[in-house]
Structures are given as structure tokens and as C-alpha cells.
């Protein structure tokens, strides 16, 4: 009984802690994005609110709350209100299975730095990121605005197309790792730097990366928003904190997509060439936690870098890339991986 209570307390603290950390990173990702955009364009970016613009996210939050919250007359009120929450929640749920670090021993308890190490982690992520489309589609539909609807429809098309490619990339990865538990996948990538899946699955990584950009509807694939064609896309009619929540959800999605790429392809929390100790102390836990975030922030920088480099795809180009290029490539990658695995196994080499 005491064990159960201790477990509950431990998990609550871990979950709350990660939630706060992720929200902090997401809030500052909005500032980071604007800063980085500034530097890419030879500007400074926001630098008026506090030193280096450090209070900008707070100012933005205050602004969002202070704005008039407007619901269009003919909009479906209930769905209209639910949609932004849904987007944010669906993005946030991914957090539950991402391993933010290894274990650490505190007060004689070994604490896993992951909210839930479930054995179907990857399936869970695929399922949840599928849910993310609903928030956007519902938001677009409930607004009773043709541009919003168009943005919503595009989203559904885009997310469904790229989920297949993403799934195929993951299948090849699973063939190699033989497990769906994200923690085990990270463990298998630890040690030498060439154990990282990005080196063993380069094709799969490319497919996954492109799909992740599309899933997070980041720049070359930000058709759901497409400011210049669709006003604002699915969030045209949204104002105040509802709009803020959409934005927040989008950045959460980006942050966690980066975390997922790191977990699957860049060794997650593992530090290259450093073996995992038998009895980890607090220091080891914090180190792995920092390693994870360092890698993730770098990945987020890549997300932003791509955003300020590439222009948006046309819708037919998007579909071409998804269905005619990435999916066949994904299938080829599976066959290739399976073949190579077979050859290696028959030669008596195991991973």
C-alpha cells in the first residue's frame, strides 16, 4: 500500500515537473523562434521586454488574456471552444512516453525520468499524433468560415498522408530494435555515437524528419495556415487566448516532435561514449536530462532554421512528395532494412 502511494507521488511529481519544463521550453520557443528569425534576417528580434527580450513570452501571454475573446455569430460554440484545447492536449499527450532522461536515485528510490515507459510507446505516439488533426479540423469547421474550413481540410489531408510515411519509417526502425518501448530504444542507441539510428537508418531518418515537419505543420508544410492564401487558415476566426492556445499547441507539437526525433534517431538522453552506470545517482539523472534537452533544443533550432529557409509547398506538390516519393521510399527502406538484417543474422552478427 505504501509502495503504491509512494509510486503515485513519485509519478505525480515527475509528470508535473516535466509538464512545467516542457511548458517553459515551449513558451521560450516562441521567443527563440522570433529571435532566430531575426538573426537569420540580419535583425535583432524582440529585445525591448527585459534584457534580450527575456520577458517577451510573459508580455505575449498578458496580451492574449487582455484581448477581446470573440466567437463568430454562426460558429458552433461548443466545438469552437473545444478545438484549441484539443490541439494543445493532443500535442501535450506525446510528452507522456518520451524519455527525458535515465534514472536517478533520490531518497533511496530509483526514479525513472519518464512519465510512463509503456511497451507500446511508439504506437501510442502514432495514435496521439493522429488525434492532433482533430483539433485543427474541428476548429476550422466550427468557425463557419470558408478559409478556416479550407485550412482544416488541408490539415486532415496532410496529416493523414504523412502519417503513413512516418509509420513506414518507424517500421524499419522497429525491425532493427525489436521493441516499441522508447526507453529500450534509447538504451540500444547508447554507447558509441555510431549506434545512433541516424547512422544506421539514414533513409528512414530522412523520411521521418520530413514527416515530422509535416505533422507539426512547420514551414515547408504549413499549408493549414498559409497566411497569404487562407488569411490565417484554421485559426482565422480565433482571437485572444483561444488563438494563443493554438499557437502554444503548435509549439508544443514542435518541441515534442524534436524530442521524438532525438529519442528515435539521436540516442535520446544517452551521452555518446559514456556507459550507463549500474547505480545512477542524482548527477547521472540530471546529466542525461540535460543531454536530452541539449539535443532537443538543437533539433528545434533545425526546425526554425528550415522554416526561415524554405518556402511553402503547393498543395499538389505536398501530396506528390507524400504519396509518390516518401511512401515508396519508406517501403523500399523497410525491404532494405529487413534484407540487411537477414544477411547480418545469417552471417552470425547481431545488432
Amino acid at each position: 500500500m505504501t509502495e503504491t502511494i509512494a509510486f503515485l507521488i513519485e509519478k505525480s511529481i515527475v509528470a508535473a515537473g516535466f509538464f512545467v519544463v516542457v511548458l517553459g521550453v515551449v513558451a521560450y520557443a516562441t521567443l527563440g523562434e522570433r529571435k532566430i528569425a531575426g538573426y537569420f534576417q540580419d535583425r535583432h528580434g524582440p529585445n525591448r521586454a527585459g534584457p534580450w527580450g527575456i520577458l517577451q513570452p510573459i508580455a505575449d501571454g498578458v496580451k492574449f488574456f487582455a484581448k477581446e475573446d470573440f466567437i463568430p455569430d454562426r460558429a458552433d460554440k461548443i466545438l469552437f471552444v473545444i478545438a484549441p484545447t484539443f490541439t494543445f492536449m493532443a500535442a501535450g499527450f506525446i510528452m507522456a512516453v518520451i524519455p527525458f532522461g535515465d534514472r536517478l536515485t533520490i531518497f533511496g528510490r530509483e526514479v525513472l525520468l519518464q512519465i510512463a515507459d509503456i511497451n507500446i510507446g511508439i504506437l501510442y505516439i502514432l495514435a496521439i499524433s493522429g488525434l492532433g488533426a482533430y483539433g485543427i479540423v474541428i476548429g476550422g469547421w466550427a468557425s463557419n468560415n470558408k478559409y478556416s474550413l479550407m485550412g482544416g481540410i488541408r490539415t486532415s489531408g496532410q496529416l493523414i498522408s504523412y502519417e503513413i510515411a512516418m509509420g513506414l519509417a518507424i517500421v524499419a526502425l522497429l525491425l532493427d530494435h525489436g521493441t516499441m518501448s522508447l526507453r529500450t530504444i534509447v538504451m540500444q542507441q547508447s554507447g558509441a555515437i555510431w549506434h545512433w539510428s541516424v547512422f544506421t537508418h539514414p533513409i528512414g531518418f530522412m523520411i521521418f524528419l520530413v514527416s515530422a515537419f509535416a505533422e507539426a505543420s512547420r514551414m515547408p508544410f504549413d499549408l493549414p495556415e498559409a497566411e497569404n492564401e487562407l488569411v490565417g487558415g484554421y485559426h482565422t476566426e480565433y482571437s485572444s487566448m483561444k488563438f494563443g492556445l493554438f499557437q502554444f499547441g503548435e509549439y508544443t507539437h514542435m518541441t515534442l516532435a524534436s524530442g521524438l526525433i532525438i529519442t528515435l534517431y539521436f540516442g535520446g538522453w544517452s551521452i555518446p561514449f559514456v556507459p550507463i552506470p549500474e547505480n545512477p545517482g542524482i548527477l547521472w539523472g540530471l546529466l542525461t536530462f540535460c543531454a536530452f534537452w541539449a539535443k532537443t533544443l538543437l533539433m528545434m533550432f533545425v526546425f526554425m532554421w528550415v522554416r526561415w529557409t524554405l518556402p511553402r509547398f503547393r498543395y499538389d506538390q505536398l501530396m506528390n512528395l507524400g504519396w509518390k516519393k516518401l511512401i515508396p521510399l519508406g517501403i523500399f527502406n523497410i525491404v532494405l532494412t529487413a534484407g540487411l538484417l537477414l544477411v547480418f543474422q545469417s552471417m552470425g552478427l547481431t545488432n
Binding site: 538573426y39 540580419d42 535583432h44 532554421w305 529557409t309 524554405l310
Partner: protein, 168 residues
């Protein structure tokens, strides 16, 4: 003549490297990254001020001569030249007790420039036969009402006079 010229509507065939997108994307990423490390070109305005030319056409000034007399004789040439109708002058005869302040017996009783109407073209400067009005590099004049931006003669006339130098 090659094949492309014969049929102008034929699509340009991309080579394999171009169709892969990837090299081009990498090149583009390189360009943006090189800009990431460049020094921003922004001038942090209220703290830093841009250097403007001494010929910058900003706020007007009404000059005085070496003896501190108003150069303006109220001839209304500037008013006539002004394409935006920003200048309003009421001219009159100089009263006896003010003779020492003016070069001739005609002067501008009121001289108003509506800074909101003014387009800072500098035609008044060109039209002035007495070298009395000039545009200065001063460009920061913000007020909270339109009325305050109608500059009167008192505001426009310089306090002390001197010879006019043509610097360019």
C-alpha cells in the same frame, strides 16, 4: 536552335540532382546560416540615431542675418511654390519701432507651416529669394494633436543669426 527554343511552352526538364531537391535545400540552408552569424544591420532607433545627410529635408528654419534681422521679407514666394499648400503667410508693412529687426519695410506678420501637410520637398527653400527658409536635418517632431503641428513663426525662426554658408 535547341529543342527548348522551338517550343516555348515546353517545361524545363530538371536534372536528377535538381529533382532530388536535397542539394538545393542544403545550399539554401547554408545561405541562411551564413546570415545567422552576421551582425544585424538594425539601428536601435531611440538609443541609436541614424546618421543623416546635412542636406536632409526635415524641419524648417527661418534664418536671421548677421545683424540678427529676419531674412524673410514676406514675399510669399514659398507659399506660392508650396505644392502641398502647407505654408500660410500674412504679409504687412513693418511698423516704425520694429524697423531695426527687418531688412525691408515688408515682413511676414504671421508665418505658419502645417508640418502634417508639408511633404518636405524643399521647393520653398528653392523659391526663397532671400535665403530665409531652409530645411534642417532635424526630423523628430511628434505631438499629440494636429494643432500643435502647425508651426508658427516664433517656433520656426532661429534665435540668433549669421551668414549663410553653402556647404555642398
Amino acid at each position: 536552335m535547341d529543342q527548348k527554343r522551338k517550343d516555348p511552352f515546353k517545361k524545363y526538364d530538371l536534372t536528377l540532382m535538381e529533382r532530388l531537391y536535397f542539394p538545393a535545400i542544403m545550399k539554401g540552408m547554408g545561405v541562411t546560416l551564413s546570415h545567422f552569424f552576421k551582425k544585424p544591420v538594425t539601428i536601435q532607433y531611440p538609443e541609436q540615431k541614424p546618421e543623416v545627410s546635412h542636406r536632409w529635408r526635415g524641419r524648417h528654419v527661418l534664418k536671421r542675418d548677421e545683424f540678427g534681422r529676419e531674412r524673410c521679407v514676406g514675399c510669399q514666394m514659398c507659399e506660392l511654390a508650396c505644392p502641398a499648400d502647407a505654408i500660410t503667410i500674412q504679409a504687412g508693412e513693418v511698423p516704425k519701432e520694429r524697423r531695426h529687426l527687418h531688412t525691408t519695410e515688408r515682413y511676414a506678420i504671421t508665418y505658419e507651416i502645417d508640418m502634417l501637410r508639408c511633404i518636405y520637398c524643399g521647393l520653398c527653400e528653392e523659391a526663397c529669394p532671400e535665403a530665409a527658409i531652409f530645411l534642417t536635418p532635424y526630423y523628430e517632431f511628434v505631438e499629440d494633436s494636429r494643432d500643435k503641428l502647425i508651426y508658427t513663426k516664433e517656433k520656426l525662426t532661429e534665435k540668433t543669426g549669421g551668414p549663410i554658408f553653402y556647404k555642398d
